[in-house]
Symmetry: C2
Subunit: 240 residues, 2 copies
DNA sequence: CGGGACGTTGACGTTAATCAACTACCGTGG
DNA sequence: CCACGGTAGTTGATTAACGTCAACGTCCCG
């Protein structure tokens, strides 16, 4: 499959172009598979025989308490990998958020490749580092930000580099998903988004697409400044 | 220094016996150093020239918001390592909690050792995996547990394997430190601990030492079961 | 066109933050 | 050795934030 990759037509979206997952796809035999929305892929505490890479779409990784509270550990976008590290078992379940394509690699094969191929080692270290950085951000906002600030930081994280450009950003997950990731209720998420709109900080084209109008104000809020009250955006400060 | 290690007297506590940090100390030149309580070691966003291992004592890794809220990312016990991964800069500050001994390695030297020494690679992967597992637990309790449950889970995490034995566990950090780690106020931590005592789940010998009397009840609470009300411990169920 | 899932908004209740008083402890210096 | 002051911890009263409950609107798919 690797040898044939150059013959594949460009529209066959079963490969990632760059980043750690691309390296893994280059070096290892992977099995690709598509998932429907909400389709289950990993069961928490199940034996980790495979590593999973997201080729397109988005997964959510989550755990549930005995009494039914769900925490979404992270949303895994295209290019992301689940199951790296020296683990015997998965520590969270995973489901597709949107229609997604994933590739699975044998955990043993990855281990073997890491012993011999420096590029694979680099890729794994890269992916682990990225995950740790993302977790750092998530942990901080859960630990010391109020609900509005959490939502603001989440929107900025989702927007990424596009945040400053006024580009339309997709929020593919539901309000409940966002809530279970941010440690609040979906009503609280909904209210925060409404307030941001009224304050002129963002604009929603529909419930699942937004643009950032006032990047500076949103950032100040997300970083945890001043008594967490939303000020109305001043038009001329936009895109600071 | 490595060559001389066998001549060192046993009471010289500048080495860790086992685990990832022990491997790093074996393979790399490290500079040891002692820290007084509250002494600063790492500044957030500073260039990462060194990796830091905790030989004895405990550090806290933390970030502070512009308006002064502090979040303690994690407490780093003896054997723990700070600064692993492909990072240009530290993502958090660090200070000693108690009088501590640390060892610092050059980041470049570590990188070189990882290229040539499989044992070092294993050790780094090990340490990163441990950190991710710890972060998973921390994130979950910040994301979906109430304050009492957070404190219960924290006490269990601190107790570790000793939790089931009724051994005395030291809580070397202050209530404020615990609070800034759990995303609550120090009053809330204090109240939770008092409630656990009144419920017969733990016993405090003094403000910084406790034993777990009813491991089962504390675990049920920490895992997020039933409406998060504290029931009084039933004596015969102890140590379940 | 109808039903169900999702999202928004409002009213109300609960949790935990805030404000405040008080106590215990520890190190320092008289 | 005790007096003193500062820090840390506990506990209570009050308030603010957010969860819960409920009603309603909207969109999508059958």
């Amino acid at each position: 499959m690797t040898a044939l990759s150059s013959f594949r037509p460009a529209y066959a979206q079963d490969r990632i172009e760059a980043g750690p997952l691309a390296v893994l796809q280059q070096a290892l035999q992977g099995v690709t598979q598509t998932l429907k929305p909400d389709q289950h892929v990993i069961m928490e505490a199940s034996e980790r025989r495979t590593i999973i890479g997201v080729v397109s779409g988005m997964l959510r990784s989550f755990r549930v308490t005995p009494d039914g509270r769900r925490h979404i550990t992270r949303f895994v976008d295209a290019g992301g990998v689940i199951g790296l590290g020296k683990l015997a078992a998965f520590r969270a379940s995973a489901e597709a958020v949107t229609r997604s394509a994933i590739v699975t690699f044998s955990a043993k094969a990855l281990e073997a490749a890491m012993a011999t191929d420096p590029a694979v080692r680099e890729a794994v270290l890269d992916a682990l580092t990225k995950e740790l950085i993302q977790r750092d951000r998530i942990q901080f906002r859960l630990g010391r930000l109020w609900s509005d600030e959490r939502v603001a930081d989440f929107l900025l994280e989702r927007a990424g580099a596009r945040g400053r450009t006024g580009a339309v950003v997709a929020l593919e997950m539901s309000r409940a998903d966002i809530a279970d990731h941010l440690g609040v209720t979906f009503e609280t998420v909904s209210r925060a988004i409404s307030r941001f709109q009224r304050a002129g900080m963002i604009a929603m084209t529909d419930a699942h697409h937004f643009t950032i109008l006032h990047h500076g104000a949103l950032t100040v809020l997300a970083e945890g400044d001043g008594g967490h009250a939303i000020q109305h955006a001043h038009p001329c400060e936009a895109a600071s």
